[in-house]
Amino acid sequence: MGKVKIKKKSTLIDMTAMSDVTVLLLTFFMLTSTFLQKEPTIVYTPSSVSEEKVPMNNLVTVLVSSADKSGKLDDPSIAEGKLFISFTGDADSTLSSEKIRGMMLDEAISIYNEQHKNNRIALSDQQKAEFRTINMIGVPFSELSDVLSMSITERDKFMSDMTDPKVGIPIDDNKNRDGRLNDFQVWLKAIYNVAQRINNEQSENLSAEERSQLSNLYTALMRKGQGIAIKADKDTPFTTVQMVFDNLQTMKLNKFSLMTALKSEDEPTN
């Protein structure tokens, strides 16, 4: 009787082709996508037909938090209307986000200290360096020093708690303040000043390239209204957003943009 011979088959699968495909996919994802910016809270922007893209560079984003959607809070509106601000410089030039943030911070602190002579704040160089690395900040000036001393994890945890009264840049209806600015206005003024001063002053110790970058920022802010973008949730009441508008108007920043998602509309025949 002949033995039944079982053919020995190699179980090796050639993974080379698979590897090719995955590398291609990886390349595609790396080239087409941009990294998500860390934001303390998630908002769902309303959609519009506007096709204008949010500029990548020289942008100040004002994030307005939405009411709590988890349903865990008795009063979801506690979390509503907290302001966060982020500064983005130009990735391609020497005037990077870090440098812009540093200039804004110095200017903002000097404005704040001028306004609050009895409650001056002072930051150490280390804290200032820390500030330059943060994408989005949303605390009152009085808390700034504490928050900048925290570790990254601690800070993220602190800033994402919308129920904490210490989170969010203070804002009010700016009525009857005898010319005193609230914290949000101090930031706006700092942005305005930094952009304008360097646009006008030629004696600044900056390179020609840096100056041209700053004057781009100035043009974006003042002329075209592309420098400031407001990002708010679609279910946020208008009155809350209106307060941000009102403060921008007071600071003479009448042109700005609203962030929206893209919506497509079919063509009507009539």
């Binding site: 090796l12 699968i13 050639d14 993974m15 082709a17 698979m18 590897s19 995955t22 590398v23 996919l25 994802f29 790396m30 087409t32 990294f35 959609s47 519009s48 037909v49 506007s50 204008e52 893209k53 949010v54 009411a67 979801p76 509106s77 506690i78 209307g81 907290k82 009264p165 969010g168 203070p170 209806d173 209204g225 973008a229 990002k231 708010a232 679609k234 279910d235 946020t236 009441p237 208008f238 009155t239 957003v241 209106q242 508008f245 007071t250 003479k252 009448n254 042109k255 700005f256 943009s257 609203l258 962030m259 929206t260 998602a261 893209l262 919506k263 509309e265 079919d266 009507p268 009539n270």
Partner: protein, 263 residues
């Protein structure tokens, strides 16, 4: 594929020749690593870029009456926005899942004599249904007919590649602000219960209908009177208590002399 076949077939084995060997490179770990990287990129990046809507607001300093520009009565149209609420969340349409926004509008100056029933009319943002403009879009479009006719012609030209995108944008902008044409002046008044989406929808309608003159204002006392009358006549409840009080860290802001429709 990834192996080097060093076996020489048919040839006689020479003495001292190297052993036959097939160099297999196992690519499985490489694939594993690539997959991990792809997962990382898919989770940590975004491919959607936000769009922006440009907005220009007037100064909020006190402007003297004489300096205020007056719109022609025949051109003016006022939209009072409102969002329906279900408890403390915006109410959504059962079919489309969209938030329900109501628009109460009147043309010209407010008719407080209530002589006709046209002092306030109710509309919604419907957009286009079966390629026909509906709701508030239809009304705004008919008001801006002259501009829209030219705009459609321009769009045709652009689609037929007679003009470039830049030329089209420029011509469309010029067309929208052509003072020789009859163009409406729209006043958008978001009520206290309006959500941000309602406002964006309204500004969006302005862009879709090529309306270059519009402003955003807070509702006045007259508007409240109109809404109250409309409520009684139609047995509806529009003026409800404000759904959400402004959070404690934001103090109440109601400009002097302006009353929001809030009992």
């Amino acid at each position: 594929m990834a192996q080097i076949d060093t076996s020489d077939k048919g040839g006689k084995k020479k003495k001292g020749a190297q052993k036959k060997m097939s160099i297999h490179v196992d690519f499985t770990p490489m694939v594993d690593m690539n997959m991990l990287l792809i997962t990382f990129f898919m989770l940590c990046t975004t491919m959607i870029k936000s769009q922006t809507l440009q907005i220009v607001l007037p100064t909020n300093e006190d402007v003297k009456k004489e300096q205020q520009s007056q719109a022609k009565q025949s051109e003016a149209i006022t939209l009072i926005l409102d969002t329906e609420y279900n408890g403390d969340k915006p109410a959504t349409d059962a079919e489309t899942g969209k938030t329900i926004h109501n628009i109460y509008y009147y043309e010209g100056i407010a008719d407080t004599t209530f002589a006709t029933n046209k002092y306030l009319q109710k509309e919604q943002f419907i957009g286009n249904v079966n390629h026909e403009t509906q709701g508030i879009r239809k009304i705004l479009r008919s008001k801006n007919q002259q501009v829209m006719e030219q705009y459609i012609k321009l769009k045709e030209q652009w689609k037929n590649k007679e003009i470039t995108k830049e030329e089209f944008d420029k011509a469309a902008k010029q067309n929208a602000s052509d003072s020789l044409k009859t163009r409406p002046v729209v006043v958008i008044k978001p009520g206290p219960n309006t959500t941000y989406e309602g406002l964006i929808n309204a500004i969006d309608e302005m862009n879709i209908n090529q309306i270059s003159r519009y402003s955003i204002e807070l509702p006045t006392h007259t508007d409240t009177v109109l809404l109250r009358h409309y409520e009684q006549a139609n047995n509806e409840t529009i003026i409800r208590p404000t759904v959400r009080n402004r959070a404690a860290h934001m103090t109440a802001a109601t400009a002097e002399g302006e009353s929001t429709p809030n009992p």
